[in-house]
Amino acid sequence: MTHLLAADKVSKYFGNVIALKDISAHLDAGEVLCILGDNGAGKSTLIKILSGVHQPDAGRLLVDGEEARFGSPREARAAGIATVYQDLAMVPLMSVWRNFFLGAEPTRGAPPVRYLDVRTARQEARRHLMAMGIDIRDPDQPVGTLSGGERQAVAISRAVYFGARVLILDEPTSALGVKASGIVLRNVVRAREHGAGVVFITHNPHHAYPVGDRFVILNRGQTLGTYAKREIDQQELVRLMAGGAELAELQHELEQISG
């Protein structure tokens, strides 16, 4: 069976530091794959490989079952893999519609008088955001005036709009409060409903569990296993992620301090 995106025994070394070792995972359309791990587990190295920033030193990436090598983020994007970075997805001083179409602006006319189709851009941006459940009062509003959750949501909607088949979300909820995280998680589900495959990177199992279909747990550059949702419950996910023994030890220590 061919998957939308698959990593096959991918490894990455920085000098003699092993960042990733033999990571395998796969993603299908209309599915959310959560990659969980603590800081330094290798999450960001993995997404950088998936999005074309880094190239794997061993192993291969497969897109629709065929091997792919991305020399740059642009090549990954061309293959339909869009990455939404934590804080680096939007230009705060620019309006919502300008951000929405940034880098892929609709134009009319022929050069040298090719100009922006502002009307279309404005309407399309608002219509699509509305369809994704984001009610922007005014598409001319600077993105900087949106809340953090709304900002992430606009970035996700944009990626979906531009036909991303794979959406990589790098810690989209890490800097957000409960309510804003809710907005983003709802968008993750919407993106999945639109048929995109979502790679959701997080260190928060409570955010991952409700939206995820499958979970990959990373620890020190290696997988601790891949689980489908029915194979695992939230507690177990938390326990695995922190490394079960260590958490038990921590619990013991805390009890002693408070006792």
Binding site: T83, M90, L93, R98, L102, T107, V118, R127, T145
Partner: protein, 348 residues
């Protein structure tokens, strides 16, 4: 669902229309617009009606165009998050090269203009590549180009002519036709050609900023270069293009000045780089990039023109001209900040 969205759209359109006045107050150039009206009436009061009559008008628009032709590209570059401190001295380098070409190898004026514009493109390309490839702040890199060019201007002029200026530009072939379009005046009120160029440059820059992809990229690379790169904006190409535009415009202005004063002097343009930046900042450009307008920069230039001409016109002591510029700069920037703050608050 779709129906709900449609009706939502319609309602919001109406809301936006009501907020038109509020939207005006969100424009970057609003502070400078208030400033230009204030300065105009100040000099109308101090210098009398002559200030507003056509020959007075021709004088301060002349000076305004002298600043504005450069303030506009400098503003675009600032919106993209970069500075060009070599912009002032570049007018001198271009003027000298032009004067040299038409008087020593006796080149016709028109091919000389082409060569000088090519020279401008080259210097801009070098500036841009140095900034982008070294990842040093453009403030430092172009300061380097500034001093290099200033030294070359002095050294090469003396070497080539044994003097510090190149006279007799008006003896060159083709001078008359070029002078008419680039360095002369029209009507009996001595209205300078340059003003037309300035207006055209402002209009084109405004259109580019607001209505083209490139304009969108200018805002993006200045607002957040990493975010822009992440969505596929060619950051390198955008910034280098703007550096090239700036130094090419400086070359154009240098040619105009050489045609106007029929000569070129080795120290021409030194110190003007800050005048351009001041005009852009008065016009609402943020020093940190990502925000500003071409119209604002031109209004900033207009204010500078009014002050430069208005002070001797009013018979005031011109020793205080810089004090005046300093106060205007501070007031305009404070006003800009205040308005932006108020606009942001009304949004929330």
């Amino acid at each position: 669902m779709a129906q709900v969205a449609e009706s939502g759209l319609a309602r919001d359109e109406r809301l936006a229309r009501v907020g038109l006045a509020a939207r005006l107050f969100q424009r970057p150039e609003i502070g400078s617009m208030v400033g230009v009206v204030a300065v105009f009436f100040l000099f109308l009061w101090a210098a009398g009606a002559k200030f507003a009559e056509l020959d007075g008008f021709a004088l301060w628009t002349d000076e305004a165009s002298n600043v504005g032709i450069m303030a506009v590209p400098v503003a675009l570059l600032m919106i993209a998050g970069e500075f060009d401190l070599s912009a002032g001295v570049m007018t001198g380098s271009a003027g000298l090269l032009f004067a040299y070409l038409v008087t020593r190898p006796d080149l016709n004026v028109w091919p000389a203009i082409l060569l000088v514009l090519l020279f401008g493109l080259t210097i801009g390309f070098i500036n841009g590549m140095l900034v982008m490839k070294t990842r040093l702040p453009s403030f430092i890199v172009t300061l380097g180009t500034f001093f290099s060019l200033a030294g070359l201007n002095a050294g090469l002029t003396r070497r080539a002519t044994g003097s510090v200026y190149i006279p007799d530009v008006d003896t060159a072939s083709g001078f008359r036709s070029a002078h008419r379009f680039l360095g002369s005046t029209f009507t009996t009120y001595a209205f300078p050609d340059r003003v037309i160029w300035w207006i055209v440059i402002t209009v084109v820059a405004t259109w580019v900023l607001a209505r083209t992809r490139f304009g969108n990229w200018i805002f993006a690379v200045g607002g957040d270069a990493t975010a822009a790169r992440n969505v596929g904006v060619p950051v390198l190409r955008t910034k280098i293009a703007l550096f090239m535009t700036t130094s090419t415009m400086a070359s154009l202005l240098g040619i105009m000045i050489a045609l106007q004063i029929r000569s070129a002097q080795a120290d021409q343009g030194i110190g003007n780089e800050f005048v351009y930046i001041i005009a852009a900042v008065v016009g609402g450009c943020l020093l940190t990039g990502g925000y500003g307008s071409a119209v604002g920069a031109s209004i900033g230039a207009l204010i500078m023109g009014m002050i430069t001409v208005g002070i001797p016109f009013a018979g005031w002591n011109s020793d205080y001209q810089r004090l005046f510029l300093g106060v205007i700069l501070l007031l305009a920037v404070m006003l800009n900040t205040l308005i932006r703050w108020a606009a942001a608050r009304s949004r929330a």
